[in-house]
C-alpha cells in the first residue's frame, strides 16, 4: 500500500516538473539575432572566395562562439537540399571567415546560416555572386601513348613476320613445282 502511494507521488512530482519546465520555456522566447555577410561580389571560378560574417544579438552586441555554416542550395531529385561548403565559429567580435570555391561561371548564391543556440534565434543571410570564367592560357599537352623513340617503320615489325611466313609458303609451292615432271603427263590430275 505504501509502495503504491510512493509511486503515485513520484509520478505526480515528475509531471509537475515537466509542466513547470514547459511553462518556463514558453515564457522565455529566443532572442532575435542578426547576421550580416560580405564578400567581393565579383569573383573568378576556381579560386577561393572569403566570406565575412558578423553575428549580433538584438542589442547589436557580437555573439561569440556561435557556429555559422556556409551553405549552397542544390536541387537533387526535384527537391532542394543544403550543401555545406564551410563552417566556422564566431570570435569575440562576433565575426567569422568562411570560404568556398565556385566551380562554374555565372551567377551563384551562398547562404550563411546560424542555427540558433543558448536562447538565440536562428538566422541567415544570403549573398549573390557573379562568377566569371578565368582567362586561361592553354598549353597543348600531349595525349595518348608517348613514345618519342618509336619510328614509323616499327609498324613493319608485325607485318614482316607475316610476310616471312608467306615466303615460307611460297617456298613450299616452289617445292611442288620442282617435284613435278617438266612436261606434264596427259593424265595429270589431282590424283
Amino acid at each position: 500500500m505504501n509502495a503504491r502511494l510512493a509511486a503515485i507521488g513520484l509520478g505526480a512530482l515528475l509531471a509537475a516538473a515537466l509542466l513547470a519546465g514547459t511553462a518556463m520555456a514558453s515564457t522565455s522566447p529566443a532572442a532575435p539575432t542578426h547576421l550580416s555577410i560580405s564578400a567581393p561580389t565579383t569573383t573568378v571560378s576556381g579560386g577561393p572566395v572569403a566570406v565575412h560574417v558578423l553575428l549580433t544579438d538584438q542589442e547589436g552586441k557580437p555573439v561569440q562562439g556561435a557556429l555559422i555554416r556556409l551553405v549552397s542550395t542544390v536541387t537533387f531529385m526535384g527537391s532542394d537540399h543544403d550543401e555545406v561548403m564551410d563552417e566556422a565559429q564566431t570570435d569575440s567580435a562576433g565575426k567569422a571567415v568562411l570560404s568556398f570555391a565556385p566551380a562554374d561561371g555565372g551567377p551563384a548564391t551562398v547562404t550563411a546560416r546560424f542555427a540558433g543556440s543558448q536562447g538565440l534565434a536562428p538566422t541567415d543571410a544570403a549573398l549573390s555572386f557573379d562568377v566569371q570564367q578565368p582567362v586561361v592560357t592553354y598549353h597543348p599537352t600531349p595525349v595518348g601513348i608517348q613514345a618519342p623513340w618509336a619510328r614509323s617503320y616499327f609498324i613493319l615489325v608485325p607485318f614482316l613476320g607475316i610476310w616471312f611466313t608467306y615466303l615460307v609458303v611460297l617456298r613450299q609451292a616452289r617445292k611442288v613445282r620442282r617435284a613435278g615432271v617438266p612436261s606434264p603427263s596427259p593424265q595429270g590430275s589431282a590424283g
Binding site: 595518348g144 607485318f159 607475316i162 608467306y166 609458303v169 611442288v176 613435278g180 606434264p184 590430275s189 589431282a190
Partner: protein, 503 residues
C-alpha cells in the same frame, strides 16, 4: 570379230559421281559455255560498273563536292561499303581456314567459293577507300610520309597483307584443279597455257602432295589472325577517334563478330546462286546450308549480345552527346534505318534459323539476304550519325548521298558480282580434288572398318580383303555415313559427300 566396247560407268557408283562432279564444275569453264542469260548478265553488270567508273571520273575531275559529303559528314556511303565488303571477306577465312583447321569434312565442296568471296570482297572493299579519298593520287603519301600513330597506315598495311595472303590461300588449293584442266581439249589454247603456268607441274606425286598440304596448312593457320586483325584495325579507325558512338572498347571484337556474321551470310547467298546456276545440288547439299545456317544463328545471337552491351552501357550513362546520338538512332532521324537493321537484319533472320519449319534452304537463304541488307544498314548507322552529330553547339550535319555515290555503290556491288562471275568462268567453283580426297578417305576408312568387323566376326578375312561389308563401292552404310541428301529426304544417286569425320 571383236567389238570394242567402251567401259560404261555406273552412274550410282563413286566413279559416276566423280564424272558428274567434274562435268558440272568444268562445263562452265569451256569457251562456248556462255549462254544468252550469261551474256546478258555480264553485259548488265559491265554496264553498271562502267556507269560507276564514269561517276568516279566525274568525282575525280570536280572533287568531292559532287558528293553529299562535307567537312561535317566526311564519311558516308563509301566508308559504309568499305566496312561492309571487308566484313564479307571474312567468309573465306572462317569457312575455309577455320573449318579446315578443325577438320570439318563437310567444308570441302564450299571452300573454293568462300576463298573467292574473300579475294573479290577485299579488292572491292579496298577500292572504296581509294574512291573516298577524292584525291587518289595522294594515296602513296600515306606510305611516303608514314605516321606510326595513324590508323590509316595500319589499315593499308593490314589490308594489303590480307589481300596477298588471301590470294595465296585461294591459289594453293587451285593447283591440282587447274592441273586437271590444263590438258582438257575442250578448253582454248591460251587458257590451257595459263592453267599450265598455274599448275606448278602438278602430277599428284607424293612429295608434291606433302608440300602442298603443308603450304595450305600454314596458310590456314596464318590467315585467321590476319583476318581478325584486319577487321580489328578497321574498327580502330572509329574506336580511336574521339566521337560519340565510337568511344568504345569493344569495337574490335564487335566488328570481327559482325564481319563473320555477314561473311557467313554472304557465302550462303553465293552458294545458293551457284548451286542453282551450275546444278550442284548433289554436291552442295541442304546439309551445308543447315550447318552454315546454324553458324549464322550463333553469330547472330553473339552480334545481338554485343549490340545490346554497346547501347545499354552508353544509354545508362547517357553522357552529353551520347544522349543526342542515341535519341537520333532509336527514335530520331536514323530510327528507321536502325530498327530495320535490328528487326529485319538480326531478329527476323535469327527466328527464321531457329525454327525447324523455316530452317530450309529457302528460309536460310532468305535469312542470309536479310542479314546482308541489315549489316549494310548497320555499318551506315555506325558511320554517318556519329559524323553528323555536332561536336560544337551547332546544328546536326546533313548527309544526302548524291547520284555519284549511289552510282559508285551500285558499281561496287555489280563489280563484286562481275568479278565473281568471271572468276567462276576461269576456275572451278568447287575444289574437285578436295571433294574427291574426302571420298577417298571415306572409302579407305570404310574398308578398314569392314576389315576390323570381318576379323572380329569371322576371325579371318574374306578373299578380297573386305570384311563383311555391304560391298558398295561408295561405302554406303546406314547409320554411319550420310549420303548427299535433298531437302525432301530423297537420296540422290552418287557417293556420299564426305561426312565420316563430321565435327
Amino acid at each position: 570379230m571383236s567389238v570394242a566396247v567402251e567401259p560404261r560407268i555406273d552412274e550410282t557408283s563413286a566413279d559416276g559421281a566423280r564424272v558428274r562432279l567434274r562435268e558440272r564444275v568444268e562445263a562452265p569453264l569451256r569457251s562456248k559455255a556462255w549462254g544468252v542469260k550469261g551474256r546478258l548478265l555480264v553485259a548488265g553488270l559491265s554496264l553498271v560498273v562502267a556507269w560507276g567508273v564514269f561517276a568516279w571520273i566525274h568525282q575525280v575531275r570536280d572533287g568531292l563536292a559532287v558528293t553529299g559529303l562535307s567537312n561535317h559528314v566526311s564519311w558516308g556511303l563509301y566508308i559504309t561499303n568499305f566496312v561492309f565488303f571487308i566484313g564479307i571477306s571474312h567468309a573465306g577465312t572462317l569457312v575455309s581456314a577455320i573449318l579446315r583447321l578443325t577438320h570439318a569434312e563437310w567444308r570441302r565442296p564450299i571452300t573454293r567459293l568462300a576463298e573467292m568471296i574473300t579475294v573479290v570482297a577485299l579488292v572491292i572493299g579496298a577500292s572504296m577507300v581509294l574512291v573516298d579519298m577524292g584525291r587518289p593520287d595522294r594515296l602513296l603519301n600515306v606510305l611516303r610520309f608514314p605516321h606510326l600513330r595513324s590508323p590509316i597506315l595500319w589499315d593499308i598495311l593490314s589490308i594489303s597483307t590480307y589481300i596477298l595472303g588471301s590470294l595465296i590461300y585461294l591459289f594453293l588449293p587451285l593447283v591440282p584443279d587447274v592441273a586437271a584442266l590444263r590438258d582438257s581439249p575442250a578448253l582454248g589454247r591460251v587458257r590451257r597455257r595459263i592453267y599450265r603456268a598455274l599448275s606448278l607441274r602438278w602430277t599428284g606425286l607424293p612429295e608434291q602432295r606433302v608440300a602442298l598440304t603443308r603450304a595450305i596448312g600454314i596458310m590456314a593457320v596464318v590467315i585467321v589472325p590476319v583476318a581478325v586483325s584486319v577487321h580489328t584495325v578497321v574498327s580502330w579507325i572509329f574506336g580511336m577517334t574521339l566521337r560519340e558512338g565510337w568511344n568504345s572498347t569493344i569495337f574490335g571484337p564487335y566488328f570481327v563478330v559482325g564481319a563473320i556474321f555477314s561473311g557467313i551470310a554472304g557465302i550462303i547467298v553465293v552458294m545458293a546462286i551457284f548451286r542453282r546456276a551450275y546444278r550442284l545440288e548433289e554436291f552442295i547439299t541442304e546439309k551445308h546450308f543447315r550447318y552454315l545456317g546454324s553458324l549464322l544463328m550463333v553469330l547472330g545471337l553473339l552480334y545481338v549480345y554485343f549490340t545490346a552491351s554497346e547501347y545499354i552501357t552508353v544509354g545508362y550513362k547517357l553522357r552529353v552527346g551520347d544522349d543526342a546520338l542515341l535519341s537520333a538512332l532509336l527514335v530520331g532521324r536514323y530510327a528507321v534505318l536502325f530498327w530495320t537493321f535490328a528487326i529485319g537484319g538480326t531478329l527476323v533472320p535469327i527466328l527464321l534459323l531457329a525454327f525447324r519449319r523455316t530452317r530450309t534452304v529457302p528460309g536460310i537463304v532468305s535469312a542470309a539476304v536479310l542479314v546482308n541488307v541489315g549489316m549494310w544498314l548497320k555499318r551506315f548507322v555506325i558511320v554517318v550519325p556519329s559524323m553528323a552529330l555536332p561536336l560544337m553547339p551547332w546544328e546536326w550535319g546533313t548527309y544526302h548521298p548524291t547520284w555519284v555515290e549511289w552510282s559508285i555503290t551500285a558499281a561496287a556491288f555489280a563489280g563484286f558480282a562481275l568479278v565473281f562471275v568471271l572468276l567462276a568462268r576461269f576456275f572451278p567453283v568447287i575444289s574437285v580434288w578436295e571433294v574427291e580426297e574426302g571420298w577417298e578417305q571415306l572409302e579407305v576408312q570404310e574398308r578398314w572398318e569392314r576389315l576390323e568387323v570381318g576379323v572380329s566376326h569371322d576371325g579371318q578375312l574374306d578373299g578380297n580383303g573386305h570384311g563383311n561389308g555391304d560391298g558398295h563401292p561408295n561405302g554406303h552404310r546406314d547409320g554411319h555415313l550420310e549420303p548427299a541428301q535433298h531437302a525432301d529426304g530423297v537420296v540422290p544417286e552418287g557417293p556420299p559427300i564426305a561426312t565420316g569425320e563430321e565435327r
